[in-house]
Symmetry: C2
Subunit: 463 residues, 2 copies
């Protein structure tokens, strides 16, 4: 007896029901991307390991899934590797990574940003800039699996490369509004600007410590003002500077009020004022385009990745606490790592798994995303099934997902099948119906039945 098969930890099968919901969600997101002129891109699951390593920090390198070279992979080992392996059990971390790189040329994509940068540099001669692209593909990370964290998960990225125009930031904000509006999720979009954060650091006399300050104030929601100030002190920020930072962290009022106060506070920082200008322009462009989105300037928003250089965004669901469900920002040097500097871009990423969880928790999937088949024809035997076939065909041709139960099983079994698959309508064509050329249509939710002549069946069921 074979062992019951399983799948690798941290990976998932998506059942038909989950897939139908996920498809509804991802199609809604992609439709918005397309309406805004973004074009789809797909890159291979496997990249050369040299493309991936060194791009995600030392921790990231360890989390890359590496693909063993085909054929006799052992040929890759160096003499030193061979000695080390022969003497067993004492391989240090660093030597393991080196050895792995010698027997693995390829790795699985870790995110969609590095493949985008690689694609843009590799194809820069053919690409028409500004390049608006979206990409919805799985990525793989050898993270320790835990609740809500998987080793294979989808990213949905949308970016525009090759322009510094703030119309792009406006566009992305509008995409956020459209996507979450279409999905029925009430959200708040938090906006900030890395230039403002730099301006703050500069103003309090610690321009060199911008990243420390940024990382610390990013935690204000989680650990509170006091602990953030302790952390800042531990990073070597003096008490005077921390005192000057306090009113900024506790800023309140409308976005316009906050910006006015900040403009005064950052009067001595050219970069800081530029960040204020950018933020005002983005908010004003969004208003001009027309928007009902709840947008909040949040000076404690920093976002972890250190390649952002301008506006930064983060989206939270208002009715379900799950952390950020979408985020991104402006970066000024995406492709520098591959030898093409100076291409500015801005992008955001939608967190498919979290958005799915929010929709499930708030019951936001529409009825049609919770089933696949709309109409089941019951099967009473060969003659009856043959009478059903042309009728079934009319529904299928009209894109009403329909099927016939393939065998003349007991009616209880067939109706049970319809119930378990959440099929709303069952068409019964038995001996009597065959004689009268009228089908019995059973609504599985209400239990109601009605008689419909064959020649009006398609019309009735496509309404």
């Amino acid at each position: 007896m074979a062992q019951k098969p399983s799948i690798p930890k941290g990976t998932r099968d998506f059942s038909p029901l989950e897939m139908t919901r996920r498809t509804y969600m991802l199609d809604t997101i992609k439709r918005a991307f397309r309406a805004y002129g973004y074009a789809p891109l797909e890159t291979p699951a496997m990249e050369n390991l040299s493309t991936l390593t060194g791009k995600y920090g030392e921790e990231g390198d360890k989390l890359l899934f590496k693909i063993l070279n085909s054929g006799d992979f052992t040929r890759g080992f160096s003499d030193d590797d061979r000695r080390r392996i022969a003497s067993a059990g004492e391989a240090a971390d660093a030597s393991v990574n080196g050895m792995a790189a010698r027997i693995c040329e390829k790795g699985l994509r870790y995110d969609l940003t590095v493949p985008l940068a690689r694609y843009v540099v590799q194809h820069q001669a053919e690409i028409v800039f500004p390049f608006r692209r979206y990409q919805v593909q799985p990525v793989w990370r050898a993270d320790r699996p835990q609740k809500g964290r998987y080793r294979e998960f989808y990213q949905c990225d949308v970016d525009v490369i090759g322009t510094r125009s703030l119309l792009c930031e406006c566009e992305l904000v509008k995409i956020v509004e459209r996507v979450f509006g279409d999905l029925g999720i009430a959200v708040t979009l938090k906006i900030n600007n890395r230039k403002i954060l730099f301006g703050i650091a500069e103003t309090i006399g610690h321009a060199d410590k911008m990243m420390d300050i940024t990382v610390a104030i990013d935690k204000i929601d989680k650990i509170g003002l006091e602990k953030v100030e302790e952390e800042l002190a531990a990073k070597g920020i003096d008490a005077d500077a921390i005192a000057r930072l306090r009113p900024i962290l506790q800023l309140s009022g409308t976005n316009a009020e906050k910006l006015a106060v900040m403009r005064n506070l950052l009067a001595g920082s050219e970069t800081g004022l530029l960040g204020i200008d950018e933020t005002e322009t983005i908010l004003s462009l969004v208003e001009t385009a027309g928007s009902h989105l709840d947008i909040e300037l949040d000076l404690s928003l920093a976002r972890g990745l250190n390649y952002y250089t301008g506006a930064i965004f983060e989206v939270k669901a208002r009715d379900h606490a799950i952390g950020s469900i979408c985020g991104g920002g402006r970066y000024d040097d995406l492709t520098g790592i591959f030898g093409t500097p100076g291409l500015s871009g801005v992008g955001i990423s939608f967190g498919a798994d979290r958005i799915y969880d929010v929709m499930l928790a708030l019951n936001l999937f529409p009825e049609e995303a919770n089933r696949t088949t709309q109409v089941l024809f019951a099967n009473f035997g060969d003659a009856e099934a043959r009478a059903a076939l042309p009728l079934l065909q009319q529904l299928r041709d009209a894109d009403i997902p329909s099927e016939i139960y393939p065998e003349a099983a007991k009616m209880k079994k067939q109706l049970d099948y319809a119930n378990r698959r959440n099929i709303p309508y069952v068409v019964l064509i038995g001996e009597n119906e065959l004689a009268s050329r009228s089908a019995t249509v059973k609504d599985m939710r209400s239990g109601e039945q009605q008689t419909v002549p064959f020649d009006r069946l398609a019309e009735e069921l496509t309404r």
Copy 2:
């Protein structure tokens, strides 16, 4: 200066234009699957290596991409492996596969059939049978890359598991007709039945050599009658049997005529007659459902995989020679390899890459699959761009893919961008247009321009 980045051989980037076409093609295929009541399934890219090995023959095992274990992978090596590696350069094929399995627990999916079997066995308690599912995902094979053969490619499979009803075969034939009808590809569907092939082998006195006979006659289109007969002789089929096989290989006429002749020839084979019955039933069911598909009973059709047990199908494009673009059949024991015998199923697989090539060669992609953006608003500066934003918003809200050129660049550059991206309409709102609140709409294909008041622009461009 960094080296220009590249991707692993045998893999591909799909550019926005290719993706737009592929999405059109795959969405058309998926829409047909859904109309016939099939539900989507996705399985992880990585399966446990134990799930994959031994399922594709010895050759197949070598073509599996294996994923190196995370952390200190060298711990997996046996003492024997360590000695072998230390003594360098003499690893035999068999020992390499064994060593690889000890340092790799996971491999990339090689097809969609084994993951389906694994899924069905693993989830049999929750699955509602008969289980109609479709799956469109990439697979990976470490084949030597060559023209038209890739190491990463999509498969589009549609299967129904858990019933022997021939209504399913009928359904799949109708799906073939629908898909290629929608895509505009004229096709011939070839149909045969493994039971007929067994009947033939039995009738000529070589029931034990059915696979040899099947493999040989599968080649009749490629190498001709004479060479097939040589091959049969080489396999130990006697001259008398080969002579009796000849009229079958040269059978002609309508499907009904062929079946009538075969019914006589196979009178002594119970299995053979069952195959004739099945084929007649399938053809008759398809006719009852209504069909204009060109279906040809082709007794030389055998298909390579030896797990087929009933009807087999193959689809060829009539106007472009490229080999089979779709194929499949009935199998009686898909899940036996995982310990659950007796589940019959039938399925077909659409060859995405070949179908794409046929469509490209025959120019079958509709105009809208050859571009992404429908309308570009030219950018004449801040005031003009701001006037454009609400108009742009109307189009985007109506799902007309639209964008604004993000910078007030020279008009030549902006129109060049529209041309290179194959955007059919450019909306010009300059100083004059702003004053008169009327836009100039330029049709980029004809070069014609017309003036449209702002409040009628959306209506005009969404027609």
